[in-house]
Symmetry: C2
Subunit: 74 residues, 2 copies
């Protein structure tokens, strides 16, 4: 079992839980203040990106159903 | 060091790398075909959600700079 689980919420955020860190492109780490569960914005509307602030409500539609990615190109 | 690293790309995707799994709300697992690095959409425009397909290009602006979240509410 993976140590980090990412749940794709319907019409909403990505729920991240487990053993992870979040960094910007410079490699600077977001201080999560001890959180090991949080929501990341996947709709582009949050005013607190990369974190979810609930702005998806009524503004974003995507029902997530698991599928298989194609094989990696070699 | 965390076993999964999430990099917030500027004007683009979330890069996920490490030991993770991605599931839908029913708990069904996305078959990543062995990938341990991939991009998740954070702009809402991808036609291959939750994965990035490059649709952010020219359509999404967010320069990510790491910051500290407030303390958790008790």
């Amino acid at each position: 079992m993976a140590s980090t689980k990412i749940t794709v919420n319907n019409n909403g955020s990505l729920k991240i839980q487990g053993d992870f860190e979040i960094v910007d492109r410079e490699g600077n780490v977001y201080d999560l203040a001890g959180r090991d569960v949080l929501g990341l914005c996947r709709c582009g509307h949050s005013k607190n990106k990369p974190f979810c602030d609930g702005s998806h409500n009524g503004n974003f539609q995507h029902e997530a159903v698991a599928f298989a990615l194609p094989p990696k190109k070699v």
